[in-house]
C-alpha cells in the first residue's frame, strides 16, 4: 500500500524534473501568466543573454495594473504606464505569446482571466509575477507568485528551482451563517493565524463551508492566502470545478477532456494524509468582517469596536497597532459601525467576478449611494463586464449612483488613475490595507462585496445583515 498523500504532494511529485542530494528540486511549470509591471526586465534579461522563450504557448499575457478604467479609447495618459503596456505587447508579439489587448473583451485582471479562459486547470503548476497568483489554487492547481528573475527563469526554461513547502490544512466546518461570505472567512483566517502565520506553507482549505463555496468564492479565499504569508492556497478539485471549466476556450475538449477529468479526480488528498499543521474553525462563529488597521490581520467582526493597542500582548504588535490607528485616524473603543467612509471600491482579483457583482446588485437595487460618497464598480474582466450588462446589473449600479467602469486592477493598488486622496477613507473589496496602498495617505477597510455595497448606501461601515 502506498503512503497517503496530500493534494500538494501529488502535484509536487508530478512536476519534479530533477532532485539534488540536498533536496533542492527543479520543478516543471505548466503555465505562466504575464503582466506589464513585472515582466519587462525579464524579457530584457532574455535578450541580453541571447535566450528565447522555451514554450510560448504555455504563457498568457495581459495588461491589467496600469490600464485606465474609463475613457480607454483615448489610450493611457501617463507616459510611463503607456510605455510599460506597449512593452508587454511588443515582447509578447516578438516571443509568440498570446496577448489580450486593451480593446479585447477577454482583457482583464490576470487572475480573473486565467480561470475564465480555462487556462487555469487542476493539477497544474501555475506562476505569475504577482503574489495573488495563489487565486488559481481554487482549482486544485499549485499556483504562486514569483519575482521578475524567476519570471525570466520560467520563460527560458519552463522550470523553477524550489524546495517543497510545508503543508497546512485549514478546515472550516459547518455552514456559513446568512450574510457571511468567502471574504469574511478568509479575513477571519488571516486574523487567526496572522500575516506571517502561513510563511513557508502551502495551505489547503477544506471542510464543509469551503466545499459549499462556488468557484468564485473559492478563488476569493485562495487569493488572500498570500495575506496570511502562505506561498499558495489550495482547494481540492470536485464536480463544481469540472463544471466551471467545461467548454472554456483553453480547457481540454473531447477525448482529452475525459482523460483530463480522470486525472483530476485522482488529485484530492488521500484519506489519512498528514499535514505539518492543522487548524479547524467553525463556520457558525464567523460574522461579516472588516479590517480596522494597516495589516490584513487587523480584522474584527463588524459588530465590534476599534481595539486598544494595549490589549495586544506582543510589544512589536502594540507599536504596529498604535502606528496603524494613527495612520487610520481611529480611536480605540469606537464602534466600527460609526466609522464614516468617503469612497467605495468594488472590484480586484479578490472580488471582481460576476458572483461578486450579483451580491452587490442584491444589496443596492432600489437604493441610493449616500451623499458625498464616491462609489465605483470595476469588473475583473471584459467578459465579466459583458455578463453583468447582459443581466442588467450595470443599470442597477448606475441607477443607485455607482460608477460602472472598464476592467483592470484599478484602485486595488492605485498604479493607474484610480486612487484615494490623502485622508480619504475607503470601503474596499480588495486584498491589502497597507499604508498608501490605494493612494498616498488613503485609508482602507477591507470587506466583502455585500458589506462594501452596504457601506456605500449608508456612508459608513455597516452590518449588511441589518440593512
Amino acid at each position: 500500500m502506498t503512503t497517503p498523500r496530500t493534494l500538494f504532494a501529488k502535484i509536487w511529485d508530478d512536476h519534479v524534473v530533477h532532485k539534488s542530494d540536498d533536496g533542492t528540486c527543479l520543478i516543471y511549470i505548466d503555465r505562466q501568466l504575464v503582466h506589464e509591471v513585472t515582466s519587462p526586465q525579464a524579457f530584457e534579461g532574455l535578450r541580453m543573454s541571447g535566450r528565447t522563450v522555451r514554450r510560448p504557448e504555455a504563457q498568457l499575457a495581459v495588461a491589467d495594473h496600469n490600464v485606465p478604467t474609463k475613457g480607454r479609447a483615448q489610450g493611457i495618459a501617463e507616459e510611463d504606464s503607456r510605455v510599460q503596456v506597449q512593452t508587454l505587447k511588443d515582447n509578447a508579439a516578438e516571443s509568440g505569446i498570446t496577448y489580450f489587448d486593451m480593446d479585447d473583451a477577454r482583457q482583464g485582471i490576470v487572475h480573473i482571466i486565467g480561470p475564465e479562459q480555462g487556462f487555469t486547470q487542476p493539477g497544474m503548476t501555475i506562476v505569475c509575477g504577482d503574489s495573488h497568483t495563489s487565486t488559481h489554487g481554487a482549482f486544485g492547481a499549485l499556483a504562486f507568485g514569483i519575482g521578475t528573475s524567476e519570471v525570466e527563469h520560467v520563460l527560458a526554461t519552463q522550470t523553477l528551482i524550489q524546495k517543497p513547502a510545508k503543508s497546512m490544512r485549514i478546515s472550516v466546518e459547518g455552514k456559513l451563517p446568512v450574510g457571511v461570505t468567502a471574504k469574511d472567512m478568509i479575513l477571519q483566517i488571516i486574523g487567526h493565524i496572522g500575516t506571517a502565520g502561513g510563511t513557508g506553507y502551502v495551505i489547503e482549505y477544506a471542510g464543509e463551508a469551503v466545499r459549499d463555496l462556488s468557484m468564485e468564492g473559492r478563488m476569493t479565499m485562495c487569493n488572500m492566502s498570500i495575506e496570511a504569508g502562505a506561498r499558495a492556497g489550495l482547494i481540492a478539485p470536485d464536480e463544481k470545478t469540472f463544471a466551471y471549466l467545461k467548454g472554456r476556450p483553453m480547457a481540454p475538449q473531447g477525448e482529452e477532456w475525459d482523460k483530463a477529468v480522470a486525472y483530476w479526480r485522482t488529485l484530492p488528498s488521500d484519506e489519512g494524509a498528514t499535514y505539518d499543521k492543522e487548524i479547524v474553525l467553525n463556520a457558525e462563529d464567523i460574522a461579516p468582517t472588516v479590517t480596522w488597521g494597516t495589516s490584513p490581520q487587523d480584522v474584527a467582526p463588524i459588530t465590534d469596536s476599534v481595539p486598544d493597542p494595549d490589549s495586544f500582548n506582543d510589544p512589536g504588535r502594540q507599536t504596529a497597532v498604535k502606528r496603524s490607528l494613527d495612520y487610520m485616524d481611529l480611536k480605540p473603543g469606537t464602534p466600527l459601525q460609526e466609522i464614516p467612509i468617503d469612497v467605495v471600491f468594488i472590484g480586484s482579483c479578490t472580488n471582481g467576478r460576476i458572483e461578486d457583482l450579483r451580491e452587490v446588485a442584491k444589496v443596492v437595487e432600489g437604493r441610493k449611494v449616500a451623499d458625498g460618497v464616491e462609489a465605483l464598480i470595476v469588473p475583473g474582466s471584459g467578459l465579466v463586464r459583458k455578463q453583468a450588462e447582459k443581466e442588467g446589473l450595470d443599470k442597477i449600479f448606475t441607477q443607485a449612483g455607482f460608477e460602472w467602469r472598464e476592467p483592470g486592477c484599478s484602485m486595488c493598488l492605485a498604479m493607474n488613475a484610480d486612487k484615494l486622496q490623502p485622508g480619504q477613507r475607503c470601503a474596499s473589496t480588495s486584498n491589502r490595507n497597507f499604508e498608501g496602498r490605494q493612494g498616498r495617505g488613503g485609508r482602507t477597510h477591507l470587506m466583502s462585496p455585500a458589506m462594501a455595497a452596504a457601506a456605500a448606501i449608508t456612508g459608513k461601515l455597516t452590518d449588511v445583515r441589518e440593512l
Binding site: 527563469h153 504569508g229 507599536t319 498616498r440
Partner: protein, 202 residues
C-alpha cells in the same frame, strides 16, 4: 550578479514589524522597464514629505545611516506583493544585507537573485543589534557569508543558518538560468513523459 562574500558596514535600524513591499517601494515607481535607478525612491513615503523634501527623522535620511549597506528590521520583513522592485530598490540604494527575525517567502527568494543576503537571526539577537545600531551608529557590523556569522566588535558574534545551495549561488554570483539550462536534457525528457500522461497540456 555581484557575488556576496563578506561586508563590513554601518547598519541602519528600522524597528518595525511587517515592513511591506509597498513601503519599500511604492507602486508609482513600478512603472519602469528597468532594474536600476530605484534607490532614490526606496521607502519613498516614509523618507519624503508631500513636497518631496526629506523627512529628517527617517533613519536613511540621517548620518551615518545614509551610507548603510546593512538594514536591521523587525519580523516578517518584505511581506505583500512579489515585486522584485523591492530588492532592486534596496540594492540601488546600497543595501547588500538585511538582518531580521523572519521574512516573507517571495521577498526572501528575490533577494538571492540580486546579490542581497537576507540573514535570519532570533528576535533577541536582532534586538541586541538593533539597540547597538541605534546607540553606537558608527561602529560597523561585519557579515561573513562563508562563515555564516554576524559580528559587531568583540561584543557580539552570532551564527546564522542558510540553505547551502543558496549560499553557493550567492557567494559565486551564479546565474540560476545558466545552471538550469545545464539540465536541458532532463527538462526535455520530463516533457516527453509528461506529454503522454497529461497530453492535454501539450
Amino acid at each position: 550578479m555581484q557575488p556576496f562574500k563578506k561586508i563590513s558596514s554601518i547598519a541602519a535600524p528600522l524597528p518595525m514589524i511587517n515592513v511591506d513591499t509597498d513601503m519599500i517601494i511604492p507602486k508609482l515607481f513600478l512603472r519602469t522597464i528597468k532594474r536600476t535607478g530605484l534607490g532614490k525612491n526606496l521607502f519613498d513615503e516614509m523618507r519624503y514629505d508631500d513636497d518631496g523634501k526629506e523627512i529628517p527623522d527617517f533613519v536613511l535620511n540621517r548620518e551615518p545611516y545614509r551610507k548603510a549597506q546593512i538594514l536591521i528590521a523587525g519580523a516578517n520583513f518584505g511581506c505583500g506583493s512579489s515585486r522584485e522592485h523591492a530588492p532592486w530598490a534596496l540594492l540601488d540604494f546600497g543595501i547588500r544585507c538585511v538582518i531580521a527575525p523572519s521574512y516573507a517567502d517571495i521577498f526572501y527568494n528575490n533577494c538571492f537573485k540580486n546579490g542581497i543576503l537576507p540573514v535570519f537571526l532570533p528576535q533577541d539577537q536582532v534586538d541586541a543589534l538593533m539597540k547597538e545600531a541605534q546607540e553606537n551608529p558608527e561602529s560597523p557590523v561585519e557579515v561573513d557569508l562563508e562563515q555564516q556569522t554576524v559580528k559587531r566588535g568583540n561584543k557580539y558574534s552570532y551564527r546564522f543558518e542558510i540553505d547551502p545551495f543558496k549560499k553557493h549561488c550567492l557567494m559565486n554570483g551564479l546565474d540560476d538560468i545558466g545552471l538550469t539550462l545545464e539540465k536541458a536534457a532532463d527538462i526535455a525528457a520530463f516533457e516527453k513523459t509528461d506529454g503522454q500522461k497529461r497530453s492535454w497540456l501539450y
